[in-house]
Symmetry: C2
Subunit: 251 residues, 2 copies
């Protein structure tokens, strides 16, 4: 994948909206495990979230889609604006200036910048992680192994994770993450991985079935030890309906 | 109440963050009814949501608290950032310029402005609605009677209402809105007024009790026809806990 046309970072502030940026927390899910996509900066070896500036000619949402595509080569994915970080002093600007002076000349990070936070949830096997011009690599990192990040990015990550878990607790999730046909234990493991807690399987199954977002197929999963579990697929119409209405609690 | 020190609107862009503003959707709840606080502009008689610019010396959240206090005289209330409106062309800037030219000379509204949306939910009997310098009145308007608003404020209102209803479907609500002691029918009516739909009372009671956010008191409500309903109060510890955890669905 070519990185020639990739332009994220402070150079975009030329012609971009001043004092406004966005940051993307890209969660990757695969095989019962949750990771986050991080950028490793050239020379200094420190890490940050992907992000960028907003062009005057694009909406903030479109800017997030662009950054996400540049870093993952994916489009049309689950992307949510979750919070706008607007503290007067989000991080130690002087420290950041010192750390990044060799890479960036215009010291944009010395200004106060308000950042719109987005999170995405992707199947990380489908992603081609791509660094930007300030960074040497773009890697998946286990949530438990996330180091101290530049700027206020640990705080942004924490808040994104909270927002994702909250969303999971009231909205259907799993389309594009689970295979077309899946078992109830597959779905349960997805919820457990993201929520990072054990869920009672019987109660879970009862609640999910009640929402109507899944349809039981007349087939069972083969080659599984013990009892063969039923296969399910999403009822896309009902799934979208519940997404629109937004509430699982009052279903 | 003095309005002397009230400074909201475009004049705050002097020294404020350029191209960034905030808008507040203030919902008022009282006696099973939901309203929204609107400002009526001088001379032109058109309406908008309250809003303002963000000073370089205040966080975006603090700016929202300030605007809210200026318009309602309330502080320490339920206030949520729900979405940042970032379209390139949020409204017809030329039309707005024409409409507001007699009030505002610097045509700030001709620029592209990104706006951080907040909503608040207050007991409207406790509010002192206060117009700003561009507006002649500040009034509660029934949701069904909201006129065409200036800027993209109808869209912001619609999205805020959706966010409020969503929040209601997964987070506890009612503290500061219901009296200290309330009946299950009181609580049900609050949910029904905000969600604008009928909810099955038995299912509702079962679900609410299961969350543990309310405690049944050893008293009943007097002076009610038919069977006297039990009184409840919020278990504030559990209420906060569920708010923190964020999910009613997996309780």
């Amino acid at each position: 994948m070519s990185t020639e046309n990739i332009k994220t970072g402070p150079e975009q502030s030329i012609g971009g909206i001043p004092q406004l940026s966005l940051d993307c927390v890209i969660f990757g899910f695969h095989d019962s495990s949750l990771k986050v996509l991080l950028l490793k900066w050239k020379d200094i070896g420190e890490w940050s979230l992907p992000g960028g500036y907003i062009k005057q000619t694009e909406s903030v949402d479109d800017a997030a889609i662009r950054v996400l595509k540049e870093r993952t080569a994916l489009d049309k994915i689950f992307l949510r604006q979750f919070y706008t970080f607007g503290k007067v002093k989000r991080y130690d600007n002087e420290l950041i200036k010192k750390k990044l002076a060799h890479l960036v000349s215009d010291h944009i990070w010395l200004d106060r910048v308000v950042s719109v936070g987005y999170y995405a949830l992707v199947d990380y096997e489908k992603v081609f992680p791509t660094p930007d011009r300030f960074t040497e690599s773009c890697d998946w990192v286990d949530l438990d192994d996330v180091p101290e990040l530049l700027f206020d990015h640990n705080e942004i990550l924490t808040k994104a994770l909270k927002a994702l878990r909250l969303e999971l607790s009231f909205q259907p999730i799993g389309l594009n993450l689970l295979p077309d046909k899946f078992t109830m234990p597959d779905m349960l493991r997805m919820y457990e991985a993201i929520l990072d807690k054990k869920i009672d399987p019987r109660n879970f199954q009862k609640k999910i079935l009640k929402t109507g977002i899944v349809i039981r197929l007349p087939e069972v999963k083969k080659g599984v030890a013990h009892k063969s579990p039923y296969l399910y697929k999403f009822d896309k119409k009902r799934y979208t309906e519940v997404l629109e209405e937004g509430g699982l609690f009052f279903v």
